[in-house]
């Protein structure tokens, strides 16, 4: 009993801890830098318009995945209607840019405001629900947004909006702008995850009651996660609108939401490098495996089941071991 009594001096961490921490730090930084480097150098390998378009889409998709990861990975809330925020961002930006002839960049503040409001409208009534109800309700909301866009005159109905001005004229410049914005978004999501709020999200995911008991207002934290996810999705929507210069309700179906979810699950829920990897795999795989295009979604579905059964932590799992200090 005596030797364990009240150690006053700070106890040393395990002897190996500092080194593994240091190496992990490098792990993460290196992975991020390497990823960014690959993204920046890719156009030197292939700069055809087609390749650039695919790569730009993949980068936007990675941003979506990092946003959904805040909701699903950090906070443990299943959102099956994430495309709704993507749509809100894209349409807000598209409508403002075409109706008022504003440059895309100027629409960004408005997009942030509108997506925050959308996040609150969708989240506030639903986040009190049990997690499985939440999943279906978000799906319902996703459909509501899509059908609404399909029916309203201001959003152009089924044919959508076209002639949205891009940020730049050259596809290469647009690709680089996208990569920089997406990289900032990914770093932001990752920093959010390592903050007070990000920790609170994980407490909610692990055990809501215990989180409440330590003073975490779980409802507010869930709403914050939802709003953050909405803003990430909405800003990705702006890039999407600028990239394609035309948007229609067909881009924001349940399929789109499900694909982003797959990227998050496959890559590793809660792991930022994981979900980025997942997003790149999900968006580039069909390009590499043209022959099996018909089987693609079937394979994705089976893959989801297999991942959950065999490797629920995903390809590149989130670390729960302490790394940074």
């Amino acid at each position: 009993m005596n030797e364990t009594k009240a150690p006053e001096a700070p106890r040393k961490l395990g002897a190996t801890a500092p080194r593994t921490r240091l190496s992990k730090l490098f792990d993460n930084r290196w992975a991020g830098l390497a990823g960014l480097l690959i993204a920046l150098l890719a156009p030197f390998v292939n700069a055809s318009d087609y390749a650039l378009s695919i790569m730009t889409s993949a980068a936007i998709f990675a941003m979506l995945a990092s946003g959904l990861n805040i909701v699903v990975g950090y906070t443990g809330l299943l959102d099956l209607g994430y495309a709704a925020f993507f749509a809100v961002g894209a349409y807000t930006s598209g409508v403002l840019a075409t109706r008022f002839e504003l440059p895309l960049l100027v629409t960004v503040p408005a997009v942030i405001v509108v997506t925050v409001i959308a996040g609150i409208i969708i989240g506030a009534p639903t986040l009190r629900l049990r997690s499985d109800y939440l999943a279906i309700v978000t799906l319902g909301f996703g459909e509501i947004i899509r059908i609404t866009a399909n029916n309203l005159p201001v959003t152009g109905g089924p044919s959508g909006i076209y002639g949205i001005p891009s940020l730049t004229d050259s596809p290469v410049t647009f690709y680089y702008v996208t990569v920089v914005i997406v990289a900032i978004a990914i770093i932001g999501a990752s920093r959010l995850g390592r903050s007070r709020l990000g920790r609170a999200m994980r407490f909610v995911r692990e055990d809501e009651d215990a989180a409440e008991a330590t003073g975490v207002h779980t409802y507010r934290v869930k709403l914050a996660a939802y709003i953050a996810g909405a803003v990430w999705g909405g800003l990705a929507g702006v890039l999407f609108a600028g990239h394609l210069s035309a948007i229609s309700p067909n881009s924001f179906t349940f399929l789109q939401s499900a694909l982003v979810l797959m990227a998050v699950v496959l890559g590793g829920m809660g792991s930022v490098p994981g979900v980025v990897l997942g997003a790149i795999v999900i968006s580039l795989l069909p390009e590499l495996l043209r022959g099996v295009a018909d089987y693609r979604y079937f394979i994705f579905g089976v893959l989801l089941i297999i991942v959950m059964l065999v490797r629920p932590q995903g390809l590149w799992p989130a670390r729960s071991k302490e790394a940074l200090k």
Binding site: I147, A258, F300
Partner: protein, 297 residues
């Protein structure tokens, strides 16, 4: 007015049939079987396959043949549900709810796009089409097939209700819903009962699929998505896990949609239905007939 009521009841009885499977599975193992709507689609396609194999069906024989096909489809869809549970859900029993939900989404995808590989992306025209001369009842025009389909739905639902309320099997189901561990200690084969629950729920969805195919005449691999959502809505309205409540919920949703469409226009029908779902979940998540449960720590 009566026409709106009649249309609502007709569509609502489909919703109710599909919703029952949702509700039963949820009631017993607290799993939202996201792929349930796809079992409905599977039912429609297996009925399609059988009917196509039979070749032409003479007009006079349509109804009896359809009933036989209905039974066959119910068995095959039921088995599909059992396999689904065995492969995708059972290994994860006790896992976090998030994992189960994701698996269910995966299963839904696999079934939908698996069928797309088999049957192709385009809608298929059903080999038989139920149509009949309309006659007037209280100012609403309805057809014989509509009456028969409602009749079948009612028979299936009453049968299910009797099964759950009166039989040994039903008692076992209710026991597992309350406490699976204690049930297994009392000698109930929990896995077998859950399998049979999936069988029954999926068979009902399959029956609804065939009926929808024969009535509307067209089927496609994504037809289960929307009805799955609607069925969930119906189950929530009535009180998920509660069988009479779910039937009621189906009819209520059918009626609400029918009137909502009349007031708002057909393009807003689904928005209206999901709006009702969200309203119910916010205001009365236990549904019309669900009992209140005190959440325990």
């Amino acid at each position: 007015m009566t026409q709106l009521v009649w249309n609502g009841l007709f569509v609502g009885s489909f919703y109710a049939l599909v919703a029952l499977g949702y509700s039963m599975v949820y009631g017993i193992i607290k799993l939202l079987n996201f792929a349930h709507g796809d079992l409905y689609m599977l039912g429609a396609f297996s009925g399609f396959a059988v009917l196509s194999a039979l070749g032409g069906v003479s007009a006079a024989m349509t109804l009896p043949v359809l009933l036989a096909v209905l039974l066959l489809t119910m068995v095959s869809t039921g088995l599909a549900g059992v396999v689904l549970e065995r492969v995708a859900y059972r290994p994860l029993r006790g896992a976090p709810r998030l994992s189960l939900l994701i698996t269910a989404v995966g299963a839904s995808f696999a079934i939908e796009y698996g069928m797309r590989i088999v049957a192709g992306p385009d809608p298929q025209v059903y080999p038989v089409r139920l149509s009949g001369t309309a006659f007037e009842v209280f100012g609403a025009s309805l057809t014989l097939p509509q009456l028969v389909l409602i009749g079948v739905a009612v028979v299936l639902m009453v049968g299910l209700h009797l099964l759950v309320a009166k039989t040994r099997e039903g008692r076992a189901m209710r026991a597992i819903a309350l406490d699976p561990r204690t049930s297994s200690l009392m000698g109930i084969d929990v896995n077998a009962v859950i399998s049979r629950t999936f069988f029954i729920g999926s068979a009902l969805a399959g029956a609804a699929g065939v009926m929808a195919g024969a009535y509307y005449g067209k089927i496609d691999f994504l037809m289960g998505f929307l009805i799955g959502l609607k069925a969930f809505t119906a189950a929530v309205i009535g009180g998920i896990g509660n069988i009479p409540g779910t039937m009621l919920g189906g009819l209520v949703l059918g009626l609400l949609e029918s009137f909502g469409t009349y007031w708002l226009g057909g393009e807003w029908r689904d928005v209206f239905a999901f709006g009702v779902l969200i309203l119910f979940l916010t205001v009365r998540p236990t549904g019309l007939l669900g009992e209140r449960v005190t959440e325990r720590v």
